[in-house]
């Protein structure tokens, strides 16, 4: 049997920063968590969330026999309608609740299943655990909701006549718009993921805070300019490739440049994750009182 010191020698050391070890540990967490996220008992709901927008787009474009003609005739209107569907249904609803489900369960689910202690009993910095769990949620949500966005866009383009659709996609602004939609979806997962993982760590019953965030995000268009910027949807909205009218009641705010929106979201995410890491250092295992 090895001594503690001998054992430590088997793990790579590089002063206090052991990036090689931490990366291996993050990969090990990813291996377990991604599998659980996709195949675990809680996975069914996220498949439903991811499938609904695709199904809606399919029905809108193919259930009505005149839809194809309308899309061909009024392509720019069709794009605006898609922009609304993207923001209201995909971003504000499915990505929001999908991320809530995935990321809140990363820790809360383990507490409910009484298995979080196995991570706590490993030779693992709690910050690395937060990073590993977050990336696993991110991998899951990005794969699922990128497919949702891509699938929805597919039906929009499919309904338009050939070769107009292909020309628009490859010779026009189509590809850039599609990639921007995908980018916004990924940023949504990054931002909402951090928020919901934080909520899952801080609150025993995360439903109420999640609903409060939902209300804040939905009512964002009504908020005064300063408050409007304290939200994720504001930045995602300003990044949308096809401008969307927020309605007559909306407060008007100058669009934030992507050079500010994207770094802001990323910095916000890092800050939220840092708070989660601080919180988890003092986290106690007490399944009985949960």
């Amino acid at each position: 049997m090895n001594s503690a010191i001998e054992l430590e020698a088997t793990q790579p050391t590089g002063g206090n920063l052991q990036w090689g070890l931490w990366w291996r540990q993050v990969r090990a967490i990813l291996r377990m968590e991604v599998k659980k996220n996709f195949w675990g008992k809680r996975a069914l709901l996220i498949y439903v969330f991811a499938a609904i927008p695709v199904l809606v787009m399919f029905l809108l474009t193919f259930a009505d026999p005149d839809a194809g003609n309308d899309i061909n005739k009024f392509w720019s209107s069709a794009q605006e309608i898609f922009a609304n569907i993207f923001e209201a249904l995909i971003l504000r609803t499915m990505v929001f609740f999908g991320c809530a489900w995935i990321f809140m369960n990363l820790f809360r689910g383990e507490v409910v299943d009484k298995s979080l202690h196995y991570y706590f009993l490993s030779s693992l910095r709690r910050e690395v655990l937060v990073a590993g769990k977050y990336f696993s949620g991110l991998v899951t949500s990005v794969i699922l909701f990128s497919l949702t966005t891509a699938g929805s866009l597919f039906f929009l383009y499919w309904a338009r006549d050939y070769p107009a659709n292909v020309n628009y996609l490859f010779d026009g602004p189509g590809l850039g718009q599609c990639l921007t939609y995908l980018g916004v979806t990924i940023l949504g997962c990054i931002g909402y993921g951090a928020v919901f993982m934080f909520i899952g760590l801080f609150f025993r019953n995360p439903i109420i805070p999640a609903l409060l965030v939902y209300g804040w995000e939905w009512l964002n268009f009504l908020l005064p300019p300063v408050l409007k910027k304290i939200s994720i949807i504001h930045y995602l909205h300003t990044l949308a490739p096809v401008p969307m009218n927020e309605g007559p009641l909306a407060t008007v705010v100058a669009a934030t440049s992507p050079w500010i929106s994207v770094p802001s979201l990323l910095i916000f995410t890092v800050l939220v994750l840092a708070m989660a890491a601080v919180k988890i250092r003092r986290h106690e295992i007490s399944y009985g009182s949960e």
Partner: protein, 323 residues
């Protein structure tokens, strides 16, 4: 080996004035404890604070007051601490869908071991708890004893030098119990710290180098069973059963000695019970009486020089062998 590892306190588990409160409920209070290598048993009734002590040691809960150092490392540094510590707790739950092998292997990967090494270590640990044949079956289908064994495998798989075991013999059949106890003894012989809690007093007694008696969150006594028993000699004189000829005469003679506080004839009139506050002095007297007065002594057996009696005297119940 680094400098601090040579330091003596870095070979011990030290609790300094540790208290833990769950709101207004006391978990443990003002615990000062030093645990050396070998097998240390935590003994106490349900709710006495044994699991709280173990959870504090492993950082699963934080102390309300005081400090804990395990081989010089505090529990708020889990990366360092769990490189040399393993904990087999009472939580009978597992990550869903895992086989026994996956369970041990995956957490070795989380420890940071490379894949090949982790695989070899996982098999070695599974072999030690004799679960090789069931290793590729889902843990959800395991019996209670098998689940206990796979948890034990997980806690020893990374070759820790401190192993904390909360009721590790629960659910094991007699053969598995013997095997497991043998494994514990071997690990202790290798110089490891084993901290065990159990309700089976006689099993603890035969394994332990040190016992820590705990009740209502307070440490009542610590040390070897005999030394703890001796500490309580004034309050609870030791009872010794003697089988001999002429027990009445024997009783009258020993009663004259200062070391004997009570002598009582056995119901069958072939022996007697004596109570003494100084066992060594009584044994000298006994030898003298046998040599000089020709008593024929068949048996001399201490009745309450064991963990069960110590437990009974200090905690007040559980005389039936189970705490």
């Amino acid at each position: 080996m680094n400098e601090s590892a040579n330091h003596n306190s870095d070979k011990l588990i030290v609790f300094e004035n540790v208290s833990k409160f769950y709101g207004e409920i006391l978990g443990v209070n003002r615990v000062n404890l030093t645990i050396s290598p070998g097998i240390t048993s935590l003994v106490g009734p349900n709710g006495s604070g044994k699991t709280t002590l173990m959870n504090l040691m492993t950082g699963l809960i934080q102390p309300s007051r005081g400090t804990i150092r395990v081989l010089g490392v505090t529990p708020d540094d889990p990366q360092r601490m769990f490189s040399f510590m393993g904990y087999c707790g009472q939580f009978d739950s597992f990550p869903r869908g895992m086989t026994g092998f996956d369970f041990v292997f995956s957490f070795l990967l989380v420890h940071g071991f490379p894949k090949k090494e982790a695989e070899a270590m996982a098999w070695r640990a599974i072999e030690r708890v004799d679960l090789v044949e069931a290793a590729h079956r889902k843990v959800a289908g395991y019996s209670k004893g098998m689940r206990q064994r796979i948890r034990l495998a997980q806690s020893i798989a990374h070759d820790p030098s401190v192993i904390i075991l909360d009721e590790p013999l629960n659910g094991l059949d007699p053969m598995a119990r013997d095997e497991t106890k043998r494994l514990f003894r071997q690990l202790a012989k290798d110089g490891l710290h084993l901290i065990i809690s159990s309700h089976i007093l006689h099993e603890l007694e035969e394994m332990s180098d040190t016992i820590v008696l705990i009740n209502n969150g307070y440490i009542l006594a610590e040390g070897g069973v005999s030394s703890v028993r001796e500490e309580k000699m004034e309050e609870h004189p030791m009872q010794i059963m003697i089988r001999c000829d002429r027990p009445a005469e024997f009783a009258s003679r020993v009663f004259a000695s200062d070391s004997v506080v009570e002598a009582q004839l056995h119901e069958d009139k072939h022996g007697l019970f004596i109570k003494t506050r100084n066992a060594d002095s009584f044994y000298s007297l006994l030898n003298k009486m046998v040599a000089e007065q020709g008593f024929n002594v068949e048996t001399v057996a201490p009745v309450d020089d064991n963990l069960n009696a110590v437990y009974h005297y200090l905690i007040g119940s559980g005389g039936g062998g189970q705490a």
